[in-house]
Structures are given as C-alpha cells and as structure tokens.
C-alpha cells in the first residue's frame, strides 16, 4: 500500500467534475431537482447569492444540519461554502464529510488578510480567482480547484468573461516568455517561481478551472466553455428562474455540446423567465473584490 496522497486525490475529484454543471441549492428538494436535471455536484447553501445581496448583513456558513439533509437527498458530490479565512467553518464541514469546500467571496470574509491554509485539510477546496495571480496564490495555499469569481448573484456574465480572459491572456503570455523572464513575472504576480515555471511548461493551471458568477442561460454556459472553462457553476441562475428543472437540464446539455450552435439554439427555446439580473454598474457590493 502506498501512502494516500490527499491533495492528488482531491485534484482527481475535480477532474471527475469536468464538463459538468455544479448548481447552488438551498433545500433537499432543490438538490433532487438539480441531480435529476444532470448536475455533476451541488453547492448547499441557505441563501443563494442573489438573496444574499438582497438580505445584506453578514453571510456565514450554512447550518450543518441543512447541509446534511442535502447530503442525504442526493448521491452526487455535495459542496458547501465557508467564509474566506474562516478555518473553523472549514473544520466543521470536514467533520460532516463534505466532498468539497468553497472558500467563497460570496460570504462575508472572516479574515481580511489571510486565506485558509488549505494544506492542513483532508477534504478538497475550490477558490475563486479573477486573475492568474489570485489563482496561483490559492493553489499554493492548497486549493484543488479554481473557479472564476465572476460577480455572483447578478445574472451578469461580464465579470466571469473578464476574469477568464485575463487568466487565459496571462497564461499565454507566460508560455511565450523566455525562461530568464519567469523570475520577474513571478515577482509581478506575487507568486512563487515554481508556479510560474509550471505555467510556462504546461500552458495551463495545475488544477481544474471552472467558470462561476453570473451564468444564467445555456448560451452563457457555452460561452464560458468556449473561452476555456472546464465546467461551470450556476448559482442563482437556476432557482431564480421561471422553470428551474428545464433551465438546469438545458444548461447541462449546453456544457456537453458547447460547440454545437444548432443544439444550443434548440436548448435556448422556451425556457421561461430568466433571472432578472443586475448590471455590474448597478450593484453596491463587488464580491469579486473580496480576497486577493
């Protein structure tokens, strides 16, 4: 028997989620709808981002009892969110055998300086990033998966697109650099030389990279996939829409066949009301600016 390598196993779980859609759910009922619609995992949280925006105040980890009721309702992996830097919330989620922890800017940050030292945990973490520097810092802290931050709870895709393009552009730039330029690039990005060297040699992040924040339609999901995302998170976009089951199933199929415009056209028909959405210029709190 070889020693179990938790970090490798955790990165492997993220690989199994690829090409899939991870959906925010607030009740066991919604979790079942999501699984039935083809979600590859669910994110259990008391309030979806759109409602967190409306409610204001401090948003915290969800009640473990509510998370457990969702674990019992579905057979797919269950994720849950903790506040940035709140390692005790993460200890609690590990204790109830969560499959993935999202150290998330959607909740109110618990620490305005330090993220959780994720290398100290057995369960995997996913973290948001709006550029390559943030992504590589989260990975060096032990994140097994990265997602764009986007702007959660808005139904506005513009920030997720911006973050994905920024990350891709930075990766392309590094792959074309001379080796002796990598040291300065590491300094600029505030990350280790080894991290930059990995990007230089492989042309991609060392972990799976999903899109999140503002995805509301099959076309939004396919857009993010064509921009290079390996899967998508859909938060408020499903259960804030007119026909959640139908919309969820359509987004799942759009992610599988993201290059097939004919199919996405058919999937986009008759989905009912999309979530209303807020423009990025109309919102008071930019969640993406939390945790850098």
């Amino acid at each position: 028997m070889t020693e179990n390598n938790r970090y490798a196993l955790n990165k492997n779980l993220a690989q199994m989620l690829k090409g899939g859609v991870i959906m925010d759910v607030s009740t066991p009922q919604q979790a079942k709808i999501a699984q039935e619609a083809g979600a590859s995992a669910v994110m259990a949280l008391e309030r979806i981002p759109a409602d967190i925006r409306v409610a204001g105040g401090v948003a915290r980890m969800s009640d473990p009892k509510m998370i457990k009721s969702i674990q019992e309702a579905v057979s797919i992996p269950v994720m849950a969110k903790v506040r940035i830097g709140h390692f005790v919330e993460a200890q609690i989620l590990q204790e109830i055998q969560i499959d993935f922890i999202d150290e998330s800017e959607v909740l109110s940050p618990a620490d305005d300086k330090f993220h959780i030292d994720k290398t100290k945990f057995e369960v995997p973490f996913v973290c948001g990033a709006k550029n390559l520097g943030e992504a590589l810092r989260r990975i060096s802290e032990g994140a097994a998966m990265i997602r764009t931050k986007g702007e959660p709870g808005t139904g506005d895709i513009v920030q997720a697109v911006r973050h994905m393009r920024l990350m891709n552009a930075a990766i392309k730039k590094i792959t074309s650099m001379a080796e002796d330029e990598l040291f300065e690039e590491a300094k600029q990005l505030e990350v280790s030389y080894e991290a930059v060297k990995y990007i230089h040699e492989n042309g991609k992040l060392p972990v799976v990279n999903f899109a999140a924040g503002g995805i509301a339609t099959p076309a939004d999901a396919a857009l993010m996939m064509q921009l290079g995302a390996e899967g998508v998170f859909v938060g408020s976009g499903i259960f804030k829409s007119g026909d959640p089951a139908k919309r969820a199933a359509a987004i799942v199929k759009a992610v599988t066949n993201y290059n097939d415009a004919k199919m996405i056209a058919a999937l986009s028909e008759d989905l009912g009301e999309a979530m209303v959405g807020i423009n990025e210029s109309e919102i008071k709190i930019l969640m993406a600016e939390r945790g850098k």
Partner: protein, 194 residues
C-alpha cells in the same frame, strides 16, 4: 486502431491522452452524428454516472451504444463507466447501458474522505490504482471473470467484450489496463478475420 471515448461529462480527455501516448487514434463521442465513423473500441470514462446516464438518454446515444456493445464492440468502463455497464446497482436506480452481468455498489467507499490510492493486482500484475468516490463490484454473474480485488472487494472484471474497473487507469502513468483492453480488441479482430 481507432477508439471512441464517450465525452459527455467527466475525465474523458485523460483517457484520450493515454491512448494517444500509446499511438492509438481517438475520437470524442458527444452525439449520434459522432458514431458515423468506424470504431474498434469504446471507453466510458469516470465522472458522475447520473449525469452521463441522463445525457446518454437525452442525446439519443444509449440505444446505439448498447446495440454496438451487445453486437460485440469492445468496451472499457472506468468508475462511472463501470456503473453504467452494470446490469444492477445495489443502492440506486438510474439510467445505464446495463449489459454486464455484475451488481455494483455506488459510492462504495463513502464520500471524498473515503477516496484512496493503493497498489494492487490486476490480471497478475501489481499496478497503482486511484479510487475516487468509487464503486465496487458486489457480485458477478457466471460469465464474468474477476480481474482484480482490493481488500476482498472486486474492483475489476471482464465479461466477453466488456471490461470494467472501479479505479481510474487514466489518472496514473501505468498502462496495463489499456494494454489489456487493446489485446481484447486485437483478439476480436482476429476472430472477425476467422
């Protein structure tokens, strides 16, 4: 030799990279139109079996693939792929290909904290194995040959043209499982020639 990899969801690109490293032509299967070209073998990858099963039905791939497997197309199913090939799932009801005479238990080792790696015997050779929220085979029918066990649980088996592993050969550097599958395809070819 040309092998199709079911690319609806999950770790399909990892299989494609392994096959390419062995010099084998591959193609992705996402919809019925992808099945128009000749194919010597099929791989059903790891991922979420509920998602892949549902998409197989909705994208009208279930019947053509099931027919091809029943007609003798060599198939390798890994993890979720094993679940989809199994005739019976002991602890779930969900759509699948259901051609292999095995009973499987989904999430047999529990949640992610139960995921593990080990070195164990596959057809007489010790190889590294990665289990991610993996199933195991609880029972096999009389036509099924057991190819590997870990701590008393069956984790690899073959029935005629169908090969299934609970672990992920696409996640390690080892190629034993692929070699075995390629041999299966070659034997099939010889039979066809005969």
């Amino acid at each position: 030799m040309r092998i199709g990899v079911l690319a609806l969801q999950g770790a399909f690109i990892e299989h494609i990279h392994k096959l390419q490293a062995l010099g084998i032509d591959t193609f992705e299967i996402r919809q019925p139109a992808d099945l128009q070209t000749p194919c010597d073998g099929l791989i059903i990858p790891g991922g979420e079996s509920t998602v892949i099963g549902k998409l197989l039905v909705e994208l009208q791939l279930l019947t053509p693939l099931k027919n091809a497997i029943q007609a003798g197309l060599p198939v390798l199913g890994t993890c979720a792929g094993l679940i989809l090939l199994a005739k019976t799932i002991s602890n779930a009801t969900q759509p699948g290909i259901n051609t292999m005479d095995i009973v499987t238990t989904r999430n047999g080792y529990g949640r992610q904290l139960g995921s593990f790696n080990t070195v164990a015997t596959f057809v007489g050779e010790k190889i590294p194995m990665v289990f991610i929220r993996a199933p195991y085979i609880q029972k096999v029918g009389p036509q099924v040959e057991v190819l590997g066990e870990v701590e008393g649980r069956i984790i690899a088996a073959r029935q005629a043209n169908m090969l299934a592993t609970a672990f992920h050969p696409e996640l390690t550097d080892d190629t034993q499982v692929y070699q075995y599958f390629i041999d299966m395809i070659n034997q099939q070819d010889q039979r066809r020639v005969v």
